[in-house]
């Protein structure tokens, strides 16, 4: 049963992408993106309105094989609040400690990885689709004279240059 005191994960206006060990969330209202580590993602999913913080801390313990305190869950909720990942903000209860102190306290004792929500920054480079991974270019050429190791981003590739694998003149940008 949904209890208005229990945290409820927001779903509206979010694009959610499950990764093997993390969950990526894009907020279409703010155009901000976040990466929830496994623990944070688990807690976020458990925020369905029917689970209290105590219930969630028990679920985390069962899932990850190590008892965690309520503060552990509050730590995640605190981050969800900040990043607007809950339907309604929930007042965090660190029982007299500051967030920093809680992290220190839990961090030292926790068997389970701390819940972390990292913000994604807009990449400041264009997508390196044309990296040199494929042709493993480039060797010093007569015109370019520079080298371009495999996998280097296009901006670092000299052009024109010669691909030693095929002997073909090729361009890396």
């Amino acid at each position: 049963m949904i209890n208005s005191q229990n945290p409820v994960a927001r779903r509206e206006g979010l694009v959610i992408q499950e990764m093997p060990e993390e969950v990526l969330v894009y907020d279409t209202n703010t155009n901000k993106a976040h990466c929830l580590n496994q623990t944070a993602a688990f807690i976020w999913k458990a925020c369905d309105g029917s689970n209290s913080v105590k219930d969630i801390s028990k679920l985390v313990g069962d899932e990850f094989g190590g008892a965690v305190s309520d503060d552990f869950v509050w730590l995640a909720i605190d981050q969800f609040n900040k990043d607007n990942l809950l339907q309604e903000k929930v007042e965090t209860k660190f029982e007299g400690f500051s967030r920093r102190e809680v992290i220190r306290k839990i961090g030292l004792a926790a068997v389970v990885a701390l819940p972390v929500v990292a913000s994604l920054a807009v990449p400041n480079t264009v997508l390196a689709v044309g990296t040199c991974v494929r042709v493993q270019c480039c060797a010093p050429s007569t015109t370019g004279g520079a080298t371009c190791p495999a996998g280097s981003p296009p901006s670092t590739c000299p052009s024109p240059c010669v691909c030693p694998a095929t002997g073909n003149p090729t361009l890396c940008t």
């Binding site: 894009y26 992290i103 990292a118 920054a121 990449p123 044309g130 691909c163 090729t170």
Partner: protein, 298 residues
């Protein structure tokens, strides 16, 4: 420890582009639902249809949803795509395949495929037809976009076992067959595409000199072609774009004039292209000038 957690730049970028891919897929799905809701059944080209063959979909970014509709339905669908709701999905609506492929719409539709995204479906061309479209589109841009050559690369590398080479190469006639073969040849030459076991292995090795020269020149150039009417507010860019057009890109000119990719001089196509472009360019420039003038006076 209390500071904002950060990911490495590489992870950050991969995650960011992964989310963008997911968002673009979502837009494609919604665009389909939107048009289908009004009785249209479009075919999606480029974008998602190309990205699905990439080993990592996030590497192929796209922002608009290229949808083709049956030519007889185009005007009605266009109104819908330009409506406030339609604009939310970034639909780039095409009147059939027009210059991208001469195969009749009914044939393309009959051979198209439905693929699932997010519990819904979008309609795409079968890979053989999409290969021709991708090649023609790439050539229409004058071969300027090296990164888009990967679309062709991955389509061939990840082609289904039952890939019908005859359809992919010959369905649009011998001239376009040569266009496709040349694109495959370029993908082999510059990206290392393996076409040894394909019917074009020999033919693709024989690329016209003007073609490779034009491609390399484009890739070295820092300036990409833009429609002239979009540069009217910046004379430096405008004059740069004029200079870029002299002489016209031989690839673009040949495709525009439906020419052959043989060893002969490109001059006739370049002249043809210039002459055929003058009237519409003058018209567009005139409209843009008028619009600019009116805006300034308002």
């Amino acid at each position: 420890m209390d500071s904002e957690p950060r990911l490495s730049q590489e992870t950050n970028n991969i995650y960011w582009f992964t989310l963008q891919s997911r968002i673009s897929e979502g837009k494609a799905v919604k665009a389909f639902q939107f048009l289908r809701g009004s009785g249209f059944e479009p075919i999606l080209i480029k974008g998602f249809a190309a990205a699905r063959f990439y080993p990592e979909k996030w590497r192929r970014q796209y922002s608009d949803v290229d949808l083709c509709v049956e030519p007889s339905a185009f005007e009605r669908a266009k109104k819908l795509a330009e409506s406030p709701e339609g604009r939310r999905y970034n639909i780039d609506l095409h009147n059939g395949l027009r210059r991208l492929d001469p195969v009749p719409w009914e044939d393309l539709m009959q051979n198209s495929e439905l693929v699932e995204i997010e519990d819904s479906t979008v309609r795409i061309l079968r890979p053989e037809d999409h290969l021709r479209v991708l090649c023609t589109h790439w050539l229409t841009d004058g071969g300027a976009y090296r990164e888009r050559l990967w679309d062709i690369f991955y389509l061939i590398e990840k082609r289904p076992e039952a890939f019908d080479w005859k359809r992919g190469l010959d369905a649009a006639g011998p001239r376009r067959r040569r266009w496709v073969v040349c694109c495959l040849g370029l993908a082999r030459k510059y990206l290392g595409l393996n076409i040894k076991d394909t019917p074009v292995a020999e033919e693709a090795g024989n690329l016209p000199v003007w073609l490779t020269r034009a491609v390399e020149k484009e890739w070295q150039s820092q300036i990409r072609l833009k429609p002239l009417y979009t540069c009217l507010n910046d004379w430096r860019v405008f004059s740069q774009q004029i200079r870029k057009r002299i002489p016209p890109n031989p690839i673009q000119a040949t495709v525009e004039m439906e020419g052959d990719f043989d060893e002969s001089s490109r001059l006739k196509y370049q002249w043809g292209s210039v002459l055929s472009r003058i009237p519409p360019s003058v018209f567009r420039l005139g409209s843009a000038f008028r619009e600019n003038f009116e805006k300034k006076n308002v």
